[in-house]
């Protein structure tokens, strides 16, 4: 019985976290890109974003993809290499020259970042309510 309650508790929490992540992505990216946004994802959030109507999640990256979401983008096709990246880790955000923004967790707290230079590089306009995350 205890086990069942624990599993339910974990699932509810996971669902709550996933729901939070999905809501956040739906609150940010559709304000920068036209929906539906075709995305190539290299992260655990792929399954989360797949259920959204705002995103078209593709399994292989090509030139039709709008953005890349995730971390450690190695061996990308050439047509995909210069696509704007929305990082899911601090290191990816810092190290990837194409990352225009990031959403990751640090010390249990959500962190949102936008890189002004890269936003300009891709002609992306950040809505006013997200300007405070610009660095």
């Amino acid at each position: 019985m205890k086990k069942i309650i624990f599993i339910i508790f974990i699932f509810v929490n996971l669902y709550a976290t996933d729901n939070y992540t999905l809501k956040l992505y739906e609150a940010i990216l559709p304000k920068i890109f036209d929906v539906p946004i075709k995305v190539y994802i290299k992260d655990d959030i792929k399954s989360i974003l797949s259920v959204s109507r705002e995103f078209i999640v593709v399994d292989s990256c090509d030139e039709t993809v709008d953005i890349l979401i995730g971390k450690h983008f190695d061996n990308l096709p050439e047509s995909c290499q210069k696509k704007p990246v929305f990082a899911t880790s601090y290191n990816e955000y810092k190290d990837n020259i194409h990352s225009f923004g990031a959403f990751y967790w640090r010390k249990g707290r959500p962190q949102i970042r936008f890189n002004q230079i890269n936003l300009q590089k891709y002609n992306l306009v950040l809505p006013t309510e997200l300007q405070k995350y610009m660095r």
């Binding site: 929490n13 601090y90 810092k94 640090r106 010390k107 707290r109 962190q111 949102i112 970042r113 660095r135």
Partner: protein
Amino acid sequence: MRKNRFTNKTIIYIFNIIAVIVLLGTIGIYSLFQKTSVFIKNTNRTANIEYIDNITSNVSQYIIKKIGSDDFHATLKQNKTMRQELEHTLSLLITQRYRYVYVVDKIKNKDSFRFLLDGASNKEDKSEFDEEYIPMNLQKWDEVYKTHKTLFFKHHNIKSLWLTYLKPIVVHNKVVAILVVDFSLEDHNRIIKSLHKLNQTFEIAVGFSIFIFFIIILFAYIDNNRIKELKRKSSKISRFNTILKEKVKEEVEKNRQKDQHMVQQNRLAQMGEMISMIAHQWRQPLTAISSTSSALRLKAQFNKLDNTTVIELSDNISRYAQHLSCTIDDFREFFKKNKDKNKASYDELIQGVLDIVETSIKNKNITIKKDFTSTEIFCTYTNEVKQVILNLLKNAEDVLLENNIENPTITIKTYHNILEVSDNAGGVPEDIIDKIFDPYFSTKTKKDGTGLGLYMSRTIIHEHCKGELKVANNKEGAVFTITLPSS
């Protein structure tokens, strides 16, 4: 009967009081538990804060001493070894309870902080030096910079953290950095879960006692109604009892009057019979007196009356008159009611009756056979027993005459303490033999019977004399048996 110390009503009151006490007690304990629960949580938090406060004071002093300047960022940027050494010190603080321990400082002209030191050893958790960091509840972090005071706050929207403790690192009266300790929710949850379990138990107890309370109230209500109904019925029964008592009293009075009437009737009937018997008894002496007086007259008419004859005949008349007087005395004595018991044998009792009735019976050509063997002496109401014997003899006489029996015979037999009066009239029909002692039951057709003779006889023998009067049939006729208790 001893009165019950506790009535039903008292028991119900006691139960109600107990129910209220149980309910209030449980609610009181529950309320106390709630307060204690809050107290435990507060104490746990305070103890944790006090503990971490002591540790972080030492750690911050160590960091200040180690860095040795008020520009932590610059010093640590240049000295990676020092950074690693200090981060190792911070990592020692990380336990299951303290999830994250790190040092940040505020970025100038920005609403964000940057990591200076991070005790995390896990690569996923570990921040980089100089990494920008925007914590939640930013104003509280700023407050630490402004007030120079330690601060802690609870998290409601971070699922893994319970509370965050912010310790300002002050150098030259200026906050140069903040030492941050994030408390794990997991550890705190253990206490919360235990308290929650206890809380659930209390909630069940409160629920149960409320349930019991209402059950008792319900039962008390039902019982109260039952008692009311019982009282109503009891009062109805009591009313019925009163009516019944009055009815019984009325009936007893009626019966008494009826009995008196019956006795009176019986007495009148007996009187009638007595007068008839007196007439029989007097007939012979009166005839004798008449004959003597006629003889006296004739002798006087024919001048043959001498002194001797006058004396002889007047003596005869005097003797006959005496006999008449004795007969009256016998009858008077017979009907005199005994107040006290007297001693008598069956012989004496029977002879007393025969003195009155024998002549009358014999005049009707009825033979009286006597077979007296009883020698017992009884202490009884003799006149009443005589009346019974007389009644039995008269009944036998009546039935013998009514049935025109040839050689009518009445047999009187005594042995031990038993007296039998039998006849040869054929007996009592079996279908009425059980009813002949009932009042107003009579078989006499030619002669008017009151139907009270045998009833009164049985009452006298059974209730006054404590004996027994029975009837049975033998080959010739009815046999009435009187059994008197031996004295």
